[in-house]
Amino acid sequence: MSVLSDRMIISNMQSVRRSSQPVFDRVFRWASYGSALLVLIVLAGIIGSMIYGGMPAFREFGFGFVTSSAWDVGRDQYGAWVAIVGTLTSALIALVIGVPLSIGIAIFLTQLCPPWLKRPVATTIELLAAVPSIIYGMWGLFVFAPLFAKFVQIPVSSIVEGLPFFGTILYARVPSGVGVLTAGIILAIMIIPFIASITRDILDQIPTMLRESAYGIGCTTWEVVRHVLLPQAGVSIIGAIMLGLGRALGETMAVTFVIGNANRLSLSLFDPGSTIASRIANEFNEAAGLQLNALLALGCILFLVTFTVLVLARLLIAQVKAR
């Protein structure tokens, strides 16, 4: 109502005054409208190009493209299963390690940290998100992986050897340090800043009065966190976790360095594997013909999965703001 009348006043004034002004005013308005629409066009373009580029592969292999674990460039046979499993496994490992760490950091920053320390610590954690993916990859491959092989893979493998279940999933045939678990750990570090900062925002939005009331009746910090803050934050924290999951699923360079890039379905977390993103990064520049289409089809699958996860994440995070 008020906006409408504002505009009417403006246009009346303009007709009285200089004539060049309304033209610029209109151009400016359309330019901002067009730029906003461009955001939608980019998303549509991404969807379109993935479907268009991946179509030949989907047509050739049908639904079998998703379930087949073949990836044979020589025989021109392609299937996404190994990459899909690798993507999901490494992302889940990242969540299992990263989520408790992130929530712990968020609790530290909002409840325990002395005020003067808050800003520097928060900035440091946020800077973890600024470090480029490729640096995590180099650090993971040249610094972390050798240590991981020496102090985790070799000792653990020798302990679990021959045991049922653990002897399979935690046994390293070649303890080189790279593999699905290493990728998951690096991913966990990379998603911490995202989950931690959103969780911190959510915890900060909870009315101080609730917290103070709980302390007032003699609750300990643990009880306040467990029985007041976390239930209040509720689904929004799940939203933050899903956002982290979206990041982990699509992360490329760091994973490409440390996952080993093997097209093999292995039950061991210490064995090399590959993710959708790492496969694309590895092969795209040398790919031609059907292989290129298969890689774009992989991109299409990655898009569908991350898009779903991110949409859910946004809807869940929006819950706390709506209240």
Partner: protein, 297 residues
């Protein structure tokens, strides 16, 4: 409130004395765990930085900044072409993204405020903000590289711009919505057209925040590797002035050199990694300082 329960002593005892042991332990465990987790997070950043300084510092020399990247098996060399290439691509990306991002953010906060369309665009923008950058690389590949028949710096710039736009849109909108409506009303009451109100009142009031957004976007795209792999690629020479063909850039250079079997290549990769990380961290910190200074004022 009635009378106090009889068993409560009148004098305040030490706070923890009345707390049951199990509750005390749970509380202690939470505090210790959360502090340790935070220390771990800080330590990882420190570890990465120290390692970069040691490994990258070893490879740093004047030649790094003056010579071009060496071919396979040749001695020495530098990363001058990759540094300049990265700078050009990043500037290209941010120059394309800034007007689009600022205008789109302006639409969301000023013209389209409260409309269904603005809500949809905001939602989509948030999705793009977190979308895997490799997909944006693939998109620009099919959009520009395939039709043009060659990798090019232009495609790299566009890919980086697409990654930067959502960051700028988001911060611009956030900062503009902090500007009080009464300022705008004052402008309108003076008879200023909407464009003037936005540019000389809203933008001016939100300037520091918008600069922060652009700086953060620059920091974000400066280290992006995956999208450049499919668009600008890389080469070992000075790129052509028209930016067609491969344009050497730091991230892809680091990716290719770090995994190469030559000692001098690896050293150059570490030196490049040090330079790029320090620049990005400096940009990110500068972005925060701009905003902080404005808040103090």
């Amino acid at each position: 409130m009635g009378t106090l329960p009889q068993h409560l002593p009148v004098v305040n005892p030490p706070a923890w004395a009345r707390v049951r042991r199990s509750r005390r332990m749970a509380d202690r465990a939470l505090k210790v765990t959360c502090t340790l987790f935070t220390l771990l997070g800080v330590a990882v950043l420190g570890w990465i930085l120290v390692m970069l300084l040691i490994e990258g510092g070893r490879g740093l020399s004047l030649a790094v900044f003056t010579q071009t990247t060496p071919g396979p098996g040749s001695e020495g060399g530098g990363i001058a072409n990759a540094l300049v290439g990265s700078l050009i691509l990043t500037v290209l990306g941010i120059v394309v993204a800034t007007p689009i991002g600022v205008l789109a953010g302006t639409y969301l906060a000023e013209y389209g405020k409260g409309s269904k369309l603005a809500e949809l665009i905001r939602f989509v923008n948030d999705i793009l903000l977190a979308a895997p950058s490799i997909l944006i690389g693939l998109f620009v590949y099919t959009l520009m590289v395939q039709p043009m028949g060659s990798y090019s710096g232009w495609a790299g710039g566009v890919a980086l711009a697409i990654i930067a736009v959502p960051v700028i849109v988001r911060t611009t909108e956030d900062m503009l919505s902090l500007v009080p409506g009464s300022l705008r009303e004052a402008g309108v009451a003076l008879g200023a057209p909407m464009s003037t109100v936005i540019m000389s009142i809203s933008w001016r009031a939100a300037r520091a925040g918008m600069v922060t957004g652009v700086l953060l976007a620059t920091a974000r795209i400066a280290g992006e590797t995956a999208p450049l792999l499919f668009t600008a690629l890389n080469n070992n020479f000075w790129f052509k002035p028209n930016l067609m063909g491969g344009v050497s850039n730091l991230p892809v250079m680091i990716y290719q050199f770090a995994l190469a079997p030559y000692q001098n290549w690896r050293e150059l990769a570490w030196a490049g990694a040090l330079i790029i990380t320090l620049s990005i961290l400096a940009l990110s910190i500068a972005a925060r300082l701009v905003l902080k200074k404005d808040k103090v004022r």
